[in-house]
């Protein structure tokens, strides 16, 4: 029993300590840095001003922010409409086959996503597989310029993030009692109306968490934009990275980071509120 207590305490202290040193403290530092300024001698000059946040509100920065949100929104939408039918089929598939399909969804996680993103260049560049196949089929005469376009970035993000949409949707759909669907049909709803009136509302927690798991990383995954999108900074993540590593404007990068974090927190709150409401109703 004493050993159990010790083990429990060790695990808790270890985890809390780890989180404090490597997550909480750095975040606090970033938060503080966002209110500081920079000078030629120091990356960070102590002080307090909202100057950095004001700079973020100028046109060029806002445009980066908005285009990043747009891009990530598009990625989220594509993931949602692709993953929902797949998850629905998965939830209805018989046990042994279902396990195999789930494994196929998870297998990409076994390879580093940066490596997988580089692998995509081999498919998309002018002498890549896609162009070769299309040309040999005679669909196109000259290679398509797919690399270094927003389309390539969207494709890369969708590819990387799709499992994060499938898994929560699958969990929600698998838990959904088929009788709700039958009840809706019994009461005169066509399959289409039963879907919108009953299935979508009842799987909303899965939809929201899937969207968050795709949308938020979609804003920050700068390496996908770097590898597939070229030099253009398309994501907020690229912008932040550039402030720290290229422009060396740490406070501005910190302010952008904080903005992103606040955005995430707001969306989490929204999710919790909707989940709590649904949970209360379902209980």
């Amino acid at each position: 029993m004493r050993n159990d207590g010790f083990f429990k305490r060790a695990v808790i202290i270890g985890t809390v300590g780890w989180m404090a040193v490597f997550a909480f403290v750095p975040n606090i530092l970033v938060f503080l840095a966002s209110f500081c300024s920079t000078s030629s001698e120091n990356f960070i000059e102590p002080g307090f001003s909202l100057h950095n946040f004001a700079r973020l509100m100028d046109r060029t920065h806002l445009e980066i922010l908005l285009s990043s949100l747009r891009l990530s929104g598009l990625v989220t939408f594509i993931c949602l409409v692709t993953a929902y039918p797949f998850a629905a089929i998965l939830a209805r598939t018989r046990k042994p086959l279902r396990g195999t399909l789930l494994l196929l969804v998870v297998i990409p996680f076994w390879t580093n996503s940066l490596v997988r993103t580089y692998a995509m260049t081999a498919m998309l560049n002018s002498s890549g597989i896609v162009n070769n196949v299309l040309m040999s089929l005679g669909v196109i005469d000259a290679p398509l310029a797919m690399m270094y376009t927003p389309g390539a970035v969207v494709l890369g993000l969708v590819y990387t993030l799709l499992p994060f949409m499938i898994l929560p949707l699958y969990a929600a759909l698998e838990r959904l009692d088929r009788r709700y669907l039958e009840a809706a049909r019994d009461l005169g709803a066509s399959p289409w109306r039963a879907f919108w009136r009953v299935i979508v509302p009842l799987t909303m927690p899965g939809i929201v968490s899937g969207c968050m798991l795709v949308f938020l990383p979609g804003i920050g995954m700068f390496y996908v934009s770097d590898v597939l999108g070229g030099a253009k900074a398309m994501l907020l993540g690229n912008f932040i990275r550039d402030q720290f590593l290229t422009t060396r404007d740490w406070p501005l990068g910190a302010a952008a980071s904080v903005t992103l974090t606040v955005l995430m927190v707001l969306m989490l709150l929204l999710y919790w509120k909707s989940a709590a409401r649904l949970g209360k109703e379902a209980a």
């Binding site: 009840a183 049909r185 019994d186 709803a189």
Partner: protein
């Protein structure tokens, strides 16, 4: 088993003809034919896995028959999806929409029919009044008790004025007292609305107390269809006899068959008994007796009281020894080991005048019953 369908009213509201349903190579239903009469309360009774829910799902349109036909209101509904059938279902677990309140749940069917909002509000109010849930409109269904959820489920179905209301073990989740109350409420509601009810249950008491007719099912086919009284008093085979209530089965041999009766030898008896089946001399048979139809007296009492003996022996007596008595509250069971082999159980009422009359293990007794209350069936393995 004679098919009641052939002698029914001209147009049944639901007609199943030679329906077979196979799931994963297993027969859920085997050549089932059944007519549901307009306005009746029909109960499909059987153990779990006997196919009774499958019949309901075929009527509702959630499943299609492997072969055979289903007709509703004289129209073949093969391939017709549930939303286009004029029947509604009360599900076993109610399947109320958890993201909607009581009003929205009950209004769902009318909204699907795109009725005007004012009409929907009026109808929902009326229906909730009918199931005694006025004022619950704004409640979320998850906050309701089991009995209230049950009534919302009924309201949600009957508001659509279906030709047939299908109820899939609707009371199984309720506790005993509430179940009794809901049985009565359902019966009254059915009379008031005049809607045909088809209820599925494994509880014979529930089936008997509510239904006009009972369909006893076993292993994918129908064993017997009839009124509760006829099913209980005249079971057509041992399965039905055993499934609906307690039964004593005494092995016998037919000595001389007759018209509507047969001379039967069993337990030292050699008498004519009522027998609906066509027997041949020498056939083995079963005599079926309900415990409440049996009377038991000790040989000592009979010897001391000639009047009692006279009344008693006008029935037919078989002899044995009391093995044990089981107290049941209002009644008690006397378990008698018969001299010629076998055990019977008799249910006795307490004698208010003489509380000392109670059987003791080992008492020598005679068991008797009123002539004609027995059922004689062909021998089954």
């Amino acid at each position: 088993m004679a098919d009641i369908a052939t002698q029914s009213t001209p147009e049944p509201v639901v007609r199943l003809r030679n329906v077979t349903k196979i799931y994963d190579g297993q027969h859920a239903l085997r050549d089932v034919s059944l007519d549901v009469h307009r306005g009746e309360f029909l109960t499909i009774l059987g153990p779990s896995g006997c196919g009774k829910t499958t019949i309901l799902r075929l009527m509702a349109g959630f499943e299609g028959a492997t072969s055979g036909s289903v007709a509703i209101d004289g129209r073949d509904v093969t391939g017709l999806p549930p939303e286009r059938r004029n029947v509604n279902t009360v599900f076993q677990s109610y399947a109320l929409f958890p993201h909607m309140n009581v009003f929205d749940n009950v209004a769902f069917g009318l909204r699907m029919k795109r009725r005007p909002a004012a009409e929907i509000a009026r109808e929902v109010g009326d229906t909730l009044r009918l199931v005694q849930l006025e004022g619950f409109e704004g409640r979320m269904v998850g906050k309701l008790s089991g009995g209230q959820q049950q009534r919302v489920a009924i309201a949600r179905a009957i508001i659509n004025r279906p030709l047939v209301l299908l109820l899939d073990e609707p009371l199984s989740a309720l506790d005993y007292r509430l179940r009794k109350q809901m049985q009565l409420d359902l019966k009254h509601l059915q009379r008031k609305l005049g809607i045909t009810f088809v209820l599925v249950t494994h509880d014979q008491e529930e089936a008997f107390s509510m239904s006009d007719r009972v369909v006893v099912m076993n292993n994918g086919h129908i064993e017997q269809i009839g009124t509760p009284v006829s099913v209980y008093e005249e079971p057509c085979n041992l399965y039905v006899a055993r499934f609906v209530g307690e039964i004593n089965i005494i092995d016998a041999e037919v000595v001389e068959p007759g018209e509507g009766r047969a001379r039967v030898r069993a337990q030292g008896l050699d008498v004519f008994m009522r027998a609906g089946h066509a027997f041949k001399a020498g056939d083995k048979a079963h005599i079926l007796l309900r415990p409440e139809d049996l009377r038991v007296e000790t040989l000592k009492d009979l010897a001391e009281d000639p009047e009692l003996e006279d009344a008693f022996s006008r029935g037919r007596s078989i002899f044995g020894s009391v093995e044990e008595t089981i107290y049941k509250g209002a009644t008690y069971d006397v378990v008698v080991r018969l001299d010629a082999g076998g055990v019977v159980t008799a249910t006795e009422f307490f004698n208010e005048d003489d509380e000392t009359v109670y059987f003791r293990a080992g008492d020598r007794v005679a068991v008797s019953w009123v002539e004609g209350w027995e059922v004689v069936l062909p021998y089954e393995k």
